[in-house]
């Protein structure tokens, strides 16, 4: 399908570029906007963003590949990112990964066959006092933290997430 911002996203885009003295500076927020619109940052999306910002496509490629929050390939509707940096590792972050792998039936880096969950291991999310924790990034761009986890709480959270995903449409590119 054609890559083009919805009316609502277009309004956000206009607001974003008005905040900076040049368009290039709007790169990070505009890429976030594009990801929430299109689900992931494909080459077509990069071209579109380059066009809209009137910058060379390599500048978009530069930002999209440097920053880890931009997905350069399609992922599940909900991206579970488990922190395993020191404080989380000390408090059982790796056990949370083990448990999620068993429960979801996938390994880190994989997506469930129903396209709901992608599981990743990530670095410190500034939530060390409430370790272990994970972040759930939804395909509509929203991010939620789930903290003080143990197996029981992970079960509850997965149930909540599944309910939420029922209502969430697949990103446009994945239709």
């Amino acid at each position: 399908m054609a890559v083009e911002f919805s009316e609502e996203a277009e309004a956000t885009f206009q607001d974003l570029i008005s905040r900076y003295p040049n368009n290039l500076a709007a790169m990070l927020p505009v890429l976030h906007l594009a990801q929430s619109e299109f689900g992931w940052i494909s080459v077509e999306v990069m071209d579109y963003v380059a066009n809209r910002l009137d910058v060379h496509p390599t500048k978009v490629l530069n930002a999209a590949t440097f920053y880890t929050m931009y997905n350069k390939q399609p992922i599940g509707k909900c991206h579970i990112q488990v922190c395993t940096t020191l404080s989380c590792a000390l408090m059982g972050g790796y056990e949370i990964i083990d448990y999620l792998e068993d429960t979801l039936g996938i390994r880190v880096g994989e997506t469930t066959p129903d396209g709901r969950f992608t599981l990743s291991e990530v670095e410190c999310l500034a939530s060390c006092g409430t370790a272990p924790m994970f972040q759930a990034s939804f395909c509509d761009g929203e991010i939620e933290y789930f903290e003080n986890l143990d197996a029981e709480r992970v079960d509850e959270v997965l149930k909540e997430l599944n309910e939420k995903l029922e209502a969430l449409p697949l990103p446009k590119d994945m239709h």
């Binding site: 976030h32 930002a63 929050m69 790796y94 670095e123 410190c124 500034a126 929203e142 991010i143």
Partner: protein, 503 residues
């Protein structure tokens, strides 16, 4: 921080250790700040003098002043008040009073109060805020910028998040006061992308502040225009380095710049720029309201004010707590953290984020100040302490942190990019039972070749901790090599720490 330069030229371990503390801090800020001190010649000389003075008789001098008024809350005062993130509640609790007072003062007076307060940069580098402010040129043909470093990402650090989520107006008030004092026109709050809730709270508070006339044109009826925007990061630890942050704000990859020029002269969009941490700016309203001396009195020599401390690891009450500067780590652990959890005995701790050298429990009585922590052999960093128990393998911790820095290296300097990966590999092999005794010297040699040889302090942030684990726990590394295995309980049933390469 004055040792930084010398550390770059002389490679002896003693000097690097000294430079270590200051450098280790939050990713980075430090090098440039130290150099900034050098740039401002007088400031440098003053700092040097002070540093020299305090080195030989450290603890006695620092302990002269008791740490006062422990139970009063300032930075965290509003954390417990429902809806303090809303303007009406904030104002009802004294909010924006400091701004009104500040706008009756002139910029110089405000800078003087901030200097007097001994407010040190709260992002980890500990550069004196008032001195940093005084580097910003008074006259400028282009608009000046304030950039808030809210890209909190130093492992173990989670304090700024609470300031943004629970008391966003305090932060905004601090920004407006800074702008008034320094003649700044625009502010960007660079919030790490993952902290969406903090971004939402800030955006909501900013909107309320515009509606109330605290932001925008002719603020409080005066000839003063000021705008604040929230800028989301996108997942790069290196953007916590102030010039990496500026690059990210300009829409580029966050690769730190060579300095000089320093941001105060050439910052974002080629304009004079002040980069401050969230907590630093959130402290400003208290300084204005109560005076710089009041702030300085709540602390120890050269380290003023109330401060947020984060406690993580297997303690009874992990979390963020407010206490005066200069409190001991023992008191933080016992009184605020409730001690180690049952069955967990303290083995080691990191005082201010993973870039700081590791310490043993014999350093628990060290006071939280930049100089005092340096004397203790580490650094205060972000003052968010990670406690580790006797079940924790120090080889594995070192390996895990090396992986972190390898993952986060921006890649532009070879020693950091290649050295971090190499160190991680060697540490992995020791942890996995394939270590050789010569690996220990090899690792130390690597650290010496990384530290001081990179554009920003991320390289130092690899070298300082890795070296510290080797030096503080040498027997543990040797034991791993002798027995060709790790005697500690695994973190995961599938992976060894050696596989801990994060996504």
């Amino acid at each position: 921080m004055t040792e930084e330069k010398s550390d770059k030229t002389e490679k002896s371990k003693e000097t690097t250790e000294e430079a270590a503390e200051e450098k280790a801090e939050e990713t980075v800020e430090e090098t440039e700040q130290a150099e900034k001190a050098e740039e401002g010649g007088e400031a440098k000389a003053a700092e040097e003098k002070k540093a020299k003075k305090s080195l030989p008789k450290p603890k006695a001098a620092a302990k002269k002043k008791p740490t006062p008024r422990k139970d009063e809350k300032y930075l965290s005062r509003n954390f417990e008040i429902p809806n303090a993130h809303n303007l009406d509640v904030y104002e009802a609790n004294g909010g924006y009073r400091a701004l009104k007072k500040a706008m009756k003062m002139d910029g110089e007076e405000i800078i003087e109060e901030v200097k007097k307060s001994n407010l040190r940069g709260r992002g980890g580098a500990g550069f004196p805020c008032g001195i940093k402010w005084s580097f910003l040129p008074k006259e400028s043909d282009v608009p000046k910028y304030l950039v808030i470093n809210a890209d909190e990402g130093e492992p173990g650090t989670f304090k700024d998040r609470y300031l943004m989520e629970l008391d966003p107006h305090r932060h905004i008030e601090g920004c407006i006061i800074a702008a008034w004092a320094l003649g700044i026109r625009y502010c960007y709050i660079f919030v790490r992308g993952e902290l969406q809730f903090a971004q939402r709270r800030l955006n909501q508070a900013i909107k309320q502040a515009y509606d109330a006339g605290y932001l925008g044109k002719n603020i409080l009826g005066q000839d003063f225009d000021f705008d604040i925007y929230v800028h989301p990061g996108a997942g790069a630890y290196i953007c916590g380095e102030e010039t990496g942050l500026i690059e990210g704000l300009e829409g580029k990859s966050g690769q730190p710049r060579m300095k000089p020029p320093f941001p105060a002269v050439v910052g974002v969009f080629q304009a004079p720029t002040i980069v401050n941490n969230v907590e630093t700016i959130s402290s400003i309203p208290f300084i204005i309201e109560n005076g710089g001396q009041w702030f300085a009195d709540m602390g120890i020599e050269k380290n003023g004010g109330p401060k947020l401390y984060g406690l993580s690891g297997p303690v009874n009450n992990p979390g963020v707590y407010e206490a005066p500067s200069g409190i001991t780590i023992r008191e933080l652990l016992e009184r605020y953290g409730g001690g180690m959890r049952d069955g967990h005995e303290l083995k080691a701790f990191i005082p201010g984020g993973s870039s700081c050298a590791v310490l043993k429990p014999d350093a628990l009585d060290a006071q939280m100040g930049f100089e005092t922590m340096r004397e203790a052999g580490s650094s205060m960093g972000t003052a968010c302490i990670t406690f580790m128990d006797t079940n924790t393998c120090m080889v594995r911790v070192a390996a895990r942190l090396a992986h972190f820095y390898h993952h986060e290296s921006c890649g532009q300097c070879t020693p950091c990019r290649e050295g971090s990966g190499w160190a991680a590999k060697v540490l992995d092999s020791i942890e996995a039972g394939r270590g050789r005794m010569e690996d220990l010297d090899l690792l130390l040699d690597m650290c010496d070749n990384i530290q001081g040889n990179t554009i920003c302090a991320l390289g130092d942030s690899i070298a300082i901790p890795v070296r510290s684990y080797l030096q503080v726990f040498p027997e543990e590394f040797e034991d791993h090599i002798k027995r060709q295995s790790c005697p500690y309980p695994a973190w995961s049933k599938r992976k060894t720490s050696a596989d801990s390469d994060a996504a």
